[in-house]
C-alpha cells in the first residue's frame, strides 16, 4: 500500500499576500480552495470556489459570543451528533485547531451529495480518519494569519487529507466543525457545509489540501 503521504498541511499555490477575490463588497464568507497533489507534491487538480454555506450554528455561536450569553441563561445549539447543547460564552467557541487524526473538529470531508440547507448540523456522510477502504488520513489543522489588500481581509484554515486507502475516494462535501463549551464539557458544532459540484477525486497515494479562506470584503 502506498501510504507515503504528507500529513503536514501546507498552504499551497497561494502565498499569503495573494488573496483570491470571489466575494463581492459587503459579503463575509469563505473562499474554498481544493488542491490535489501526488506523492511528489505535484498538483494534479486545483479548484477555487466560493463557499456558499454558513449554516445555522455559525450565526448561533456568533450570537452567543457577541451577546455574551451567560452561564445562568445558556443558548441551545444543535451539535454534530444531533443533540441540542445548552452552551454559553467561552474562550473556546469557534475553536477548530484539531490535532492529527481528530475528527471532532476542524475541516472535515465527506461523500454526501445532498444540497446544504441552513439547518444542517453535520456532514451527510463523513469520511473517517484512517487507511481502510473509504477512509482518508486527517492532518492537524493549521492556520494562515490575517492578511488584507485594498478590498479584502482574510485568514486561512488548512487541512490535508491523505489517501492511503488503496482506492480512489471522491469528496463531495466539506464542512467546518468547531467547539463550544458548557460546564466542563466541550461540544462540537458544524458552522459551514459545502457540496462540491461533481466532487473531487483523491486517487490512492494522493493528498487533498483544503483551504477555507474566511474573508470580508469592503
Amino acid at each position: 500500500m502506498d501510504t507515503q503521504v504528507k500529513l503536514k498541511p501546507e498552504l499551497k499555490v497561494f502565498k499569503d499576500e495573494e488573496i483570491p477575490h470571489l466575494l463581492i463588497p459587503g459579503e463575509m464568507g469563505a473562499v474554498l480552495e481544493l488542491i490535489v497533489t501526488d506523492k511528489d507534491g505535484k498538483v494534479t487538480e486545483k479548484r477555487i470556489l466560493k463557499s456558499e454555506s454558513f449554516v445555522r450554528q455559525f450565526l448561533e455561536l456568533l450570537w452567543i459570543q457577541t451577546v455574551q450569553v451567560p452561564e445562568v441563561v445558556t443558548y441551545s445549539v444543535r451539535d454534530t451528533g444531533n443533540t441540542l447543547r445548552a452552551i454559553w460564552l467561552s474562550g473556546v467557541i469557534f475553536a477548530c485547531n484539531a490535532a492529527i487524526g481528530a475528527v471532532t473538529h476542524g475541516i472535515r470531508v465527506g461523500t454526501g451529495l445532498t444540497a446544504p440547507i441552513i439547518s444542517n448540523y453535520a456532514l451527510e456522510t463523513p469520511i473517517a480518519h484512517g487507511v481502510a477502504a473509504g477512509q482518508l488520513q486527517y492532518s492537524a489543522v493549521t492556520f494562515g494569519a490575517p492578511a488584507s489588500d485594498a478590498t479584502t481581509s482574510q485568514f486561512t484554515i488548512t487541512r490535508n487529507f491523505a489517501n492511503g486507502s488503496g482506492g480512489s475516494i471522491t469528496v463531495n462535501e466539506i464542512g467546518l466543525y468547531v467547539e463550544g463549551y458548557r460546564d466542563g464539557a466541550t461540544y462540537y458544532f458544524m458552522t459551514i457545509r459545502d457540496v462540491i459540484s461533481g466532487g473531487i477525486a483523491v486517487p490512492n497515494g494522493q493528498t487533498l489540501t483544503v483551504n477555507y479562506r474566511e474573508q470580508a470584503v469592503v
Binding site: L23, P25, G26, E27, M28, G29, K50, S51, E52, S53, F54, V55, R56, F58, L59, E60, L62, W63, Q65, T66, V67, Q68, E71, L89, S90, G91, V92, I93, F94, A95, C96, N97, P116, I117, I118, S119, F143, A145, P146, S148, D149, A150, T151, T152, S153, Q154, F155, I157, V178, Y181, D183, G184, E214, Q215, A216, V217, V218
Partner: protein, 227 residues
C-alpha cells in the same frame, strides 16, 4: 454567506419615525477577521495576536481561558450598557489579581457596540476607528449613547439573522449630521487581564442623516446568513 443590513431611523422625542434609511453594510474590516482568527486558531497568551485598537494602539489578543474562570472570555463581545456604564469583558483568567485589576477589563459602555461619527473618509479593510467618532454626552456635537442590544435571532430556511441595535439621543442643543456608522467589539489579554475595543465594521452613510436637537437616531445592524 454572511451579509449585513444597516438601518438608520430618525425619531422624534415621542419615538415617531421621521426618516428611515436602509442600506447594505459593506464593511466588515480586518479586525473582525482577526478576532475570528484568534477564536478559530485558539491563539494562546504565549504567542498572542496583535490587533490595533480604536485608539490606534497595538494590543495583544488571545483566546486563552481556563477552567478556573469557567472558560469565560469576552472576545467578540458587542452588547454594551449605555453611556459611561462599564462593559466588563472577561479576560479568561482566574488569578486573584483579575479582581483587583478589574479596571483593566472594563470598557466604557459607549465605546462598545454600535458607533456613529461625522467622518466621510471611504472605508478600507485596515480601518481601526471611525474617522470622526461622535462622543457620548450632551455637549455640542455629542449624542447620548443608549445601550447596545442584540435581539431577535431567528431562522427560516434558507436565512438566519439577528439584530444589533442602539439608540442615540441628541440633547446637544444643535443639529448633528451622522455620516458614518460602525461596530466596536472586544478582544482580551489573558496574561495581563486587559480588554480593548476594536473596530470590526464601518460604513459611510451618504448623504448623512441630520439629527435635530431632541431627536433620536436608531441604528440597527442586521447580520444575515443565507444558504
Amino acid at each position: 454567506m454572511l451579509t449585513v443590513k444597516l438601518i438608520l431611523e430618525r425619531l422624534d422625542k415621542d419615538h415617531r419615525v421621521l426618516e428611515r434609511r436602509e442600506q447594505p453594510s459593506k464593511s466588515f474590516v480586518r479586525n473582525f477577521i482577526s478576532l475570528l482568527y484568534c477564536a478559530h486558531a485558539q491563539i494562546q497568551s504565549g504567542a498572542p495576536y496583535t490587533i490595533t485598537d480604536i485608539d490606534g494602539s497595538a494590543r495583544t489578543v488571545d483566546s486563552q481561558s481556563i477552567s478556573g474562570a469557567r472558560y469565560s472570555k469576552g472576545n467578540l463581545m458587542i452588547g454594551a450598557p449605555p453611556g459611561i456604564s462599564a462593559a466588563r469583558c472577561l479576560p479568561g483568567s482566574d488569578a486573584a489579581s483579575v479582581v483587583t485589576l478589574m479596571n483593566r477589563w472594563e470598557i466604557e459602555g459607549s465605546k462598545m457596540g454600535i458607533q456613529v461619527g461625522t467622518g466621510v473618509t471611504a472605508v478600507t479593510p485596515t480601518d481601526t476607528a471611525l474617522a470622526t467618532r461622535i462622543l457620548h454626552g450632551r455637549a455640542a456635537g455629542q449624542l447620548e449613547y443608549g445601550g447596545c442590544e442584540l435581539v431577535g435571532i431567528a431562522f427560516v430556511n434558507p436565512n438566519g439573522e439577528f439584530t444589533i441595535r442602539r439608540y442615540f439621543t441628541n440633547l446637544s442643543g444643535g443639529s448633528i449630521t451622522v455620516n458614518e456608522a460602525g461596530i466596536h467589539s472586544a478582544g482580551t489579554d489573558y496574561n495581563d487581564y486587559y480588554a480593548w475595543a476594536f473596530l470590526i465594521a464601518r460604513d459611510i452613510v451618504s448623504p448623512g442623516v441630520a439629527v435635530a436637537n431632541t431627536e433620536l437616531l436608531r441604528v440597527s445592524y442586521v447580520p444575515q446568513i443565507t444558504v
